[in-house]
Amino acid sequence: MGLGAETRGRIAKRAAQEITKGMVVNLGIGIPTLVGDYLKPELGVMLHTENGILGMGPSPDPGTEDGHLSNAGGYPVTLNEGASYFDSATAFGIIRKGYLDLTILGALEVSEYGDIANWIVPGKRVPGMGGAIDLAQKAKKVIILMNHTNKDGASKIVEHCTLPLTVQKGANMIITEMAVFQINVDGLELIEIMSPYTLEEIEQATDADFKVSTMLSINS
């Protein structure tokens, strides 16, 4: 089941709270792309794209698009002050060398220890990994935004991933329409409930053990 625009926006807005002043951030496609809409300009965040921009700005006004200025998905973007262009080797050098403070990605499955599966469903969907492995393995922090369950209603948060991994122990946080989990060395910790969901509903929809934070809050 896909999420409505309002719910997707809410997840993106919550993720934006994790972004602090001056961070270098890469946003994946899907809900992560929406996070850009919730970034305050005064934060001076530098958005990075795999196709060779640091300092990407919002979408251009219709009619002012430039076919040679796009994000990694091929959609037109603009630049913020201080932006630069570079080739693909440099784009991934920035990632590999550890200059990305944060990447926000979608996922098919995330395990309770932060293993991520998001690039292949063998026999069904084999698009290639693109930059997903570079990003998930090398960014200082990885936040996963996704539906809590798949279209069959099964939990996407699992004890062990069944799909081929993108990275072992890569994710630091999961934000879904139901909850926010932090991933610690000893496993999942529920830190926030997205209202109107309840703790019982989250337990029911989550196929992995988690502890409940003593600082648990409700996101209304």
């Binding site: 091929g74 262009y85 080739d87 084999v126 698009p127 393995q137 991994l165």
Partner: protein, 243 residues
Amino acid sequence: MHDIPAKVVSYEQITDHFQNGMTLMCGGFGGVGAPPTLVNLILDLGITDIKLISNDVGFPWIGPGKLITEKRVKSLIASHIGSNPEAGKQMHDGELDVEFYPQGTLAEKIRAGGMGLGGILVDVGLGTRVEKEKQQVTLENRPYMIEPALTADVAIVFAKEADRYGNLTFDKSARNTNPLVATAGDITIVEVERIVETGELDPECIVTPGVFVDYIVPSKGVDWKWVWELKREDVSPNALRKK
């Protein structure tokens, strides 16, 4: 000034460099920065059994994606084909042999080929399927995979400006893999938006030194619509397959 080779040529003068079964490296990312006129030339020449090396294969009607749609490609080395359902279908049907690499690793394999290196050491993908059948080494107590460099018979590139020596500048994010691809071909052919006299480009602004470039042809511009120019129903996987 020394005599310099006449690199600025017509499309007719480069046709012999495209052969059936050639290894072809193509610049571009999602079709942005892929050389449209050179892709069309390869189609018009009827070249088949291409071994293509490209970051991705654009969309079915954009960039090197057209070579896939027209079934000219026998094998593909890429990082992602998700935007071209035709490539996925041919791979699934066993018509197209695809080898995937993490995007940064692929870029670096191409760069290594262009820089005269035998390969690179990289740890991206350790602990995943990527490490399968890869030779590994330990250096300073850290594990790496050995990834051989990539080169090609012919590299095709898109640039903003070229002078007659082949010095190149690029246009915004249409730069992407182009400066890497430009170095890795036995023959490098560049399609440019603007050809200028040698000496006109500021040496500080030249991204690719002309020594890497063999031929320069003037671009006839893109003959496709970008994905964002189409309506949502036009970019559904079914519609894409029909284009």
